[in-house]
């Protein structure tokens, strides 16, 4: 047994002091830097290793990820895991729904300096705001339209999907909202509120002999396209750039005369986020031209909502070529759907799928 001497007591006291001060310093450090948990699709910008490394070096904030594989799964995760996420990537159409359910908190744009050069149309998009307050930082936008194998005639209308020339050579995105939207565009209706769903159902059903498969992930699309299972597909503009650049697939993105189905993704902060400051810093980094140029040129990205970031791209960049400004004129942006319409869209697609399977 050590005797209780003056020296031992001193040692003990200093040890206690060090331990105590360290403990007191801990929450402060966690506040200044700490961790943020991002909820996103896997492999979609926020989880690029080089970007997270650069961000952590700059700010000291660690970035952790959790993923969802469908937008409804994302909403389910937000609803059922309060306090688990600091930043969530969500589509404009889903954003309004999340705001209505009080799942998001308002954004302090003064802490996102890069938002100054974000296109005003995105900032004031009714899906991203409520009563004039912004609830998400507009991040990237893109289009869903057609992708065709190089060397084949370029379709100028969605009617090509039903063209007998493509018998058994067409792939569809297994997404009710997109496909009903396309059906609406094919029949000359408003994509967000088609009045005649029966006509949409008919148009989608008429494609049956051409439909080879319904894809649900980009990886599946790439594998099947590489295996030459289809030639014409409903596909994403950003996905086509990635497939062409990374997998060297012979694919061309086409926007026919009816216009593309447009989407814009935002970065929202859940109402229960433990580290909103860190999340704002990361959101600012996500629309930073430095990050965007690297992401778009090395990996392939949708178009940034930040005009300054797009302008920083080289003129021959694939992403810049695909996301032509002229497409914006014909593009319809997907907006929030009321529950009954969403259910009706889902039922139409379910019915069409059942018809395809017969």
């Amino acid at each position: 047994m050590t005797e209780i001497t003056k020296r031992n007591i001193l040692k003990l006291m200093s040890a206690a002091l060090v331990a105590g001060s360290a403990f007191a310093a801990l929450p402060g450090m966690a506040f200044a830097a700490g961790t943020i948990t991002v909820l996103n699709w896997q492999g979609y910008g926020t989880d690029e290793a080089w970007s997270i490394k650069a961000f952590t070096e700059k700010t000291g904030i660690e970035v952790v990820h959790d993923y969802y594989s469908s937008e409804s799964e994302m909403l389910t995760k937000l609803r059922t895991n309060p306090g688990a996420y600091d930043l969530v990537v969500l589509n404009a159409a889903r954003c309004a729904q999340a705001i209505a359910e009080d799942l998001l908190q308002s954004i302090d744009f003064s802490k996102v300096p890069n938002s100054k050069t974000v296109d005003g149309a995105f900032l004031t998009n009714p899906n991203f705001s409520k009563d004039g307050t912004g609830y998400a930082v507009p991040w990237v936008w893109g289009m869903t339209s057609l992708a065709i194998r190089d060397g084949m005639p370029v379709p100028d209308s969605y009617a090509a999907l039903a063209d007998p020339a493509y018998k058994g050579r067409v792939a569809f995105d297994d997404d009710a909202i997109i496909n009903v939207g396309l059906g609406a565009l094919m029949t000359g209706q408003d994509m967000n509120d088609p009045k005649d769903l029966a006509k949409v159902t008919e148009a989608l059903k008429s494609i049956k002999p051409n439909v080879k498969l319904l894809w649900s992930t980009e990886d599946q699309w790439n594998k099947s396209f590489a295996a030459k299972e289809f030639d014409l597909s409903v596909f994403w503009s950003g996905g086509s750039v990635r497939s062409k650049r990374n997998s060297k697939l012979p694919v061309t993105f086409v926007v026919p005369k009816e216009g593309a189905v447009g989407w814009v993704d935002g970065l929202g902060i859940p109402a229960s986020a433990p580290n909103p400051e860190g999340a704002l810093a990361f959101a600012n980094w996500m629309i930073d031209p430095t990050f965007y140029v690297e992401w778009a040129t090395k990996v392939g990205a949708p178009a940034s909502a930040n005009t300054a970031a797009i302008d920083a791209l080289p003129a021959d960049d694939l992403s810049r070529q695909v996301h032509k400004a002229e497409y914006l004129k014909t593009m319809s942006i997907m907006s929030a759907l009321p529950d009954d319409r969403r259910e009706a869209f889902n039922n139409v697609w379910q019915e069409v799928k059942a018809f395809y399977a017969e």
Binding site: S70, R79, V211, K212, L213, N346, Q350, A357
Partner: protein, 304 residues
Amino acid sequence: MQNDQLTLAPARGPSGPRKGRALPPWVSTTALLMPTYGWLTIAVFLPLLTMFAFSFLSATPMGKAPIIFTLKQYRAFIDQPYLVGIGITSLLIGFWTTLICAVLGFLAAVALVRSTFGKTREMLLILILLPFWTNGLVRVFSWTMVLRENGFLDSLLHMVAPDAGSIGFLYTRYAIVVGLVHGYLPYMILTCYIALVTIDDAIIEAAASLGARWWTILFKILLPLAAPGLISGAVLTFVPVIGSFMEPRILGGRVGVTMGTVIEDQFTQAFNWPLGASLSFTLLAVVLAIFATFSGVLRRGTTA
């Protein structure tokens, strides 16, 4: 318990404290059953009950939506008639998968029991169980590489006949059944194996010595005596197969729409849990109705 009393009671004497403290038998029975039933209540019964309650709601009870009770979810098969077709497809896929599993599984089990013994049999059993060690998703994706156009199957064919067309049948119902049979065959082999291994060799020898041919032995002795295994294997296969969604989705392509994928869509894509739950319980009712119809056959089979 009885053994305890037999050995300890004489040592302590008839008037020892032990005898007075002996618990009635129902206490020990309850104590032994408690963990199982407690677990079943918490892990199976309560979630199932919650889903059953969900199936009577008008919308998923999350967020600020008001809770309204309704029976409309159970009208889905009337309101959306295409669901009937999907249901029949699922039952047919279940039927064919179970039938193929039963034939292949029974024959494999017979081969295992009648023709192998000792180390060889153990080895073969392990080989049968091997597919269970790999993730189901991996198994299904590997089939896509075999069955697709210009896949392994086509490559093999073109080695023999270079000018032959494609025999790849990915994205058809056959592909779904192939994937499902691969996944569930081990259950059938194991249940048949357990039933067959208990058959006394003397019975078969007696039949053979009395002049019975192999098909008589197979159909008059092995098949009836192994019926309990065959039936439990069929139930173990049929029930999960008609609710399967991964195999149809990946191997089925355009035709991969079954009750399983419809229910999964309700939970993931459409976020309509009540409809998903009501479809699940309707499916459960159909399965129970099928089993009730054939209950006579099943009972005779399991007690034979």
